[in-house]
């Protein structure tokens, strides 16, 4: 219980920290945002007017309090460029990105965990080497290239076997669920295969550690077959670690997701954020970065709590004791 309270306090502190960092970075780093937004060679008066309009002339502390106060009330500001509220902008994009991430992660788990188990169970050295190579190569493929290869193989029009659309999302979005889901298949595969390869390596190595510790031997001595022991005992014992890894992978996956959204012309959070950065849409970028960062902080929080809940040995430990010990 103390752990949960500590971890929640840390989460809130991290949210505050992130809001300060995001805010400060977009103002203190070299390159005045207003002059960038106004464009090269624009007259000083125009830059000044823009500063005024953005409220950039006010003291930083006031600007921050203004923005952070809005965040607390659930008001993420309005996009300078489109005049739409950032909340509605992000909500529309999340309807694509979130299913994409979930689908990608699902594919990654479906590929990575069974392959990791198979690699652990492989008896011949040739089979083990093959799994090793698959894991190495799978994790080294750039997301963009993986997506391209899938387009070359499976897309309608360009691909060898035309199965799936390779561009865009249906105009009426999830109004046509079948079509919408269909257009996410190739993007999700592109993301999922790469993440799956690294998940396979982690599964393999944590199952190896568990087998070395004797828990698998014990289960086998009780009457399980090797395969049964690895799957029933090994995977269960690896779960806390795998949950942590999946949580971190989730964060690393987002680069791939952004690339893939651009490649497949999906108007999701990733491609939207890139567009907003390109447009120097200050308020939108600031709020979007904060939202995404808090999302990942929340994922980290959930993962840590899950990790604890899954391992009875950790139930009584707490952060401070652990660090000082």
């Amino acid at each position: 219980m103390r752990f949960v309270i500590h971890r929640l306090a840390l989460f809130v502190a991290a949210l505050f920290g992130v809001s300060v960092v995001v805010f400060a970075a977009l103002r203190i780093l070299p390159g005045d945002v207003a002059s960038v937004m106004a464009g090269l060679n624009s007259p000083a008066s125009r830059v000044e007017a823009l500063r005024e309009q953005l409220g950039l002339n006010r003291p930083l502390i006031i600007q921050y309090v203004d923005w952070a106060g809005g965040l607390l009330r659930g008001d993420f500001g309005t996009s300078i460029l489109t005049g739409r509220s950032v909340t509605s902008l992000v909500a529309g994009r999340a309807a694509i990105t979130f299913p994409l991430i979930v689908l990608g992660l699902l594919i990654a788990c479906l590929i990575g965990i069974p392959l990791g188990v198979a690699a652990t169970l492989a008896r011949s050295s040739a089979a083990r080497a093959a799994f090793h190579i698959v894991g190495l190569i799978g994790g080294a493929i750039p997301a963009l290239w993986g997506g391209l290869l899938l387009i070359l193989l499976f897309s309608r029009g360009t691909g060898l076997i035309g199965l799936f659309p390779s561009q865009g999302f249906p105009m009426d979005g999830w109004g046509a669920p079948g079509e919408a889901l269909w257009s996410l298949v190739l993007p999700a595969l592109s993301v999922g295969i790469i993440v799956g390869a690294s998940l396979m390596r982690y599964t393999r190595s944590s199952l190896g550690d568990i087998a070395a510790s004797g828990h698998i031997d014990m289960a086998m001595a009780c009457g399980m077959m090797r395969r049964q022991a690895v799957i029933r005992v090994g995977l269960r014992l690896a779960t806390p670690q795998l949950v942590s890894v999946i949580g971190l992978t989730f964060a690393e996956m987002i680069t791939g997701v952004m690339v893939i959204e651009n490649l497949f012309a999906l108007p999701g959070i990733g491609s939207g954020l890139v567009t907003d950065v390109g447009n120097r849409d200050l308020i939108a970028v600031q709020s979007e970065l904060f939202m995404l960062a808090s999302f990942f902080l929340a994922v980290g929080l959930i993962v840590d709590l899950l990790h604890r809940a899954l391992d009875p040995r950790l139930a009584s430990a707490d952060i401070v004791a652990e660090v000082v010990a």
């Binding site: 828990h215 031997d217 014990m218 009780c222 009457g223 399980m224 077959m225 005992v233 009875p312």
Partner: protein
């Protein structure tokens, strides 16, 4: 159950670990296997249990009762394990399943081999806990909440819950301090004798062996170099490897007599003990 091992060879990655080992254990007999660490003792127990790592190559014959283990498929050997053959491991802390309660752990062989309902299983677990001298309230606890001695009692209960005919105890007391060691050995011996089962007791420590076994084999560098009645070997060791192990055991029991060194779990072949010969 009688056990017969003939011409057992084990190699891992081209390195020979066990060479041409022959051993016999009669029904109801308690036999020891003694050797210094690295002599290959555990590989023999793993070969008997079908627990060798995937990269090991094994040849020869291991017959448990009337069943050949070497070359049999995993399902066949798995059916023997936990039903007719029980195993007590060296380090209960790293072998007991950390996410299982004591009751779930001890009941696991029953669940895998017998069709009992939950209440019947719990009855047997409770009776077994009583036999190994643990109070009933440990049933809901996790291994990390128990002491080393209590953990090993859980390990013994798990190995014996199905009343197996043959027990392999692989250095069951090495991880424990010397007072608990004696208790655990005595407990194991009495439970095995009560059940009329046979036992292979593996250790590096002759002092423990004399309490646990009547006859023993001495292993050095993967081969059997000596065998005979445990008392005889202890009284008149002749083969160099046996001499070393016996004098190491004497040195250890001498130091263990002083309360300061009661926690000693060190390897018998320390520099001191070899100069003591």
């Amino acid at each position: 159950m009688s056990v017969a091992i003939r011409g057992l060879h084990v190699a891992i990655g081209g390195t020979s670990i066990i060479q041409d080992v022959d051993m016999d254990i009669a029904g109801g007999e308690r036999v020891g296997l003694v050797g210094s660490s690295g002599s290959g003792k555990s590989m023999i127990s793993r070969a008997i249990m079908g627990l060798l790592p995937a990269e090991a190559t094994v040849s020869g014959s291991v017959v448990l009762g009337d069943r050949q283990v070497i070359g049999a498929d995993d399902a066949t050997v798995a059916d023997l394990r936990g039903r007719y053959v029980g195993m007590v491991f060296q380090n209960p802390g790293s072998s007991l399943n950390p996410v299982m309660t004591v009751a779930q752990q001890i009941a696991l062989p029953l669940r895998l081999h017998y069709d009992l309902n939950r209440a019947e299983r719990l009855d047997r677990v409770r009776a077994m806990l009583d036999k190994v001298g643990l109070p009933g309230d440990v049933m809901g606890k996790y291994p990390h909440q128990l002491s080393g001695g209590q953990q090993q009692r859980v390990g013994i209960a798990t190995a014996l819950i199905t009343s197996p005919r043959f027990i392999i105890a692989d250095e069951p007391t090495t991880a424990l301090d010397s007072i608990v060691q004696r208790q655990i050995v005595d407990l194991l011996v009495s439970l095995v004798d009560d059940a009329g089962a046979s036992m292979l007791f593996i250790t590096h420590d002759f002092a423990v062996l004399s309490r646990a076994t009547t006859r023993c084999y001495v292993l050095a560098d993967g081969a059997i170099v000596d065998s005979g009645a445990t008392a005889d070997l202890l009284a008149r060791p002749a083969v160099p490897a046996t001499v070393r192990l016996v004098s190491a055991a004497r040195a250890l029991s001498l130091t263990a007599a002083s309360p300061v060194a009661a926690l000693s779990t060190a390897s018998p072949l320390t520099a001191e003990s070899s100069t003591a010969e």
